[in-house]
Amino acid sequence: MSMLYNRVSYYFWFVLLLTISSVSAKENLHIAVASNFKAPLEQLLSEAPFVDDIEITLSAGASGVLYSQIIHGAPFDMFFSADAKRPALLKQKELIIKGSIHTYATGVLAFWQPELDSKNNYIAIANPRSSPYGEAAKYYNEHTLKTDLSFVLAHNITQAFQFVDSANAGQGIVALASLKAAYQQQADAKYLAYKVIPADQHPAITQQVVVLKSTNNLASANKVLSYILSPSVQSEIAELGYLKVCSQC
């Protein structure tokens, strides 16, 4: 009986040690990401060359909420914001690694009206106070569109898409990326009934990433950073409905 007990306990210690060693061999990286870029980031990271070496955890949320969490000490290594304002504020507070601010994508707006002669007079946009997509949409409306429809403010650009998708709003100024993702999933022709709003008709929707000073995994974070900014990944991001960030071309 005691031999059996010994054997079981040896086995237990063996497994425990194995687990510990395998865990410590893998780097851990905790990334905060704006909700609208979570799905693309997940997909891009799953194809990354370091997928087996770095264990990545994504926390998605509204950029403003993630920002508040970061300044109060949330244990993130990197932050993919939906704008440029919050990374700049983090820099001001000296919470980021010097020189780690990079633009990883530029958002593209689309005017979407699934039913052409819709009698629904609501137009959905993201909240201009907090979302750069909303700010750009508001600017576009004030200078070009000048609609007299009633505005419905979504708490982010994905919800603006949802309001139109559920037909509660007849039209909306949404992210091209949302439309492309929806079409890829459902191939419904209504996701093609949009007009891309030219980039020169609104302030740029610059989405920036930073590496946080509190990170213990600077090497891994840098790997992710240079992977996301590499030309091939940038082309992939462009396919998903963003403008690619291109410093050389």
């Binding site: 509204a62 950029s63 403003g64 909420v65 920002y67 508040s68 919050r86 504020l89 629904n120 609501y122 959905a124 909240n127 106070r129 907090s130 009633s150 505005f151 419905v152 403010l153 979504a154 708490h155 919800q159 949802q162 309001f163 559920s166 037909a167 509660n168 709003a169």
Partner: protein, 230 residues
């Protein structure tokens, strides 16, 4: 305090009052029926009533948004009746709040009915009171404090409503922008000063509500205490 915050506060109080008054009116007869019902479906009814307590508001909000769509039966019927649509409207968030706060009004009423039913009700039946007479002259006066706590619980719970309005509201000042949404907006826009001010006011109102609630509940308990000693 910002003017928009004041509007939001007023709207929230209006929403909470309308919701809890409607809920008391709706729940009172249902709770009475359910307290008297002894059939085998009772647990099912009770479960349905308690569901909004368990389900996340985001789930309720998402399905309400889908149901409010002009392409669905509910959305179409409502549009034909009123000429308006439910999503992004004050009526829409009232409907949402009715579902969201239902258990908070129903539970105290159920407990109240179960308590008075047994003793006073039997005495009244023995005295030959009719059902309607018992309802109006026995139950309602006896349950006064229970109704008040049901009302204030519904009121307090609606004050703090967030996830559901976020899903179906569309953030329209004076229509669907309630306090919790305005607060979220301030935080998102990094206007922490305004967020602090609004939080403080909301904190004070909620605290007063809860103090009143427990005051009413105390007298309710007192009534039960005397009842038990008889």
């Amino acid at each position: 305090m910002l003017e928009t915050d004041f509007t939001a506060l007023l709207l929230t109080v209006k929403l909470a009052i309308i919701t809890s008054v409607l809920l008391v009116i709706i729940c009172f007869p249902i709770a009475w029926l359910l307290a008297n019902y002894k059939g085998r479906f009772k647990p099912y009814f009770e479960a349905i009533i308690a569901l909004p307590l368990v389900l996340p508001p985001t789930l309720l909000g998402f399905y309400l948004l889908v149901a409010f769509s002009p392409n669905t039966l509910l959305g179409e019927v409502w549009h034909n009746l009123t000429g308006h649509q439910l999503a992004f409207s004050f009526s829409g968030i009232i409907l949402g709040s009715l579902i969201y706060s239902l258990p908070f009004v129903m539970q105290p009423l159920l407990v109240g009915f179960n308590q008075v039913n047994s003793q006073y009700n039997n005495a009244a039946i023995a005295l030959g009171f009719s059902t309607s007479k018992r309802f109006f002259f026995l139950l309602i006066p006896l349950l006064k404090s229970t109704i008040l706590s049901a009302f204030s619980l519904g009121f307090a719970h609606t004050l703090g409503e967030f996830g559901l309005v976020l899903m179906i509201g569309g953030n329209i000042p004076g229509e669907t922008q309630v306090v919790s949404i305005a607060l979220y907006d301030h935080v998102e826009a990094l206007n922490y000063q305004a967020a602090h001010e609004l939080s403080l006011i909301l904190f004070a109102i909620s605290f007063i509500c809860l103090v009143l609630l427990f005051k009413f509940n105390r007298s309710n308990l007192g009534f039960r205490g005397k009842n038990a000693s008889n």
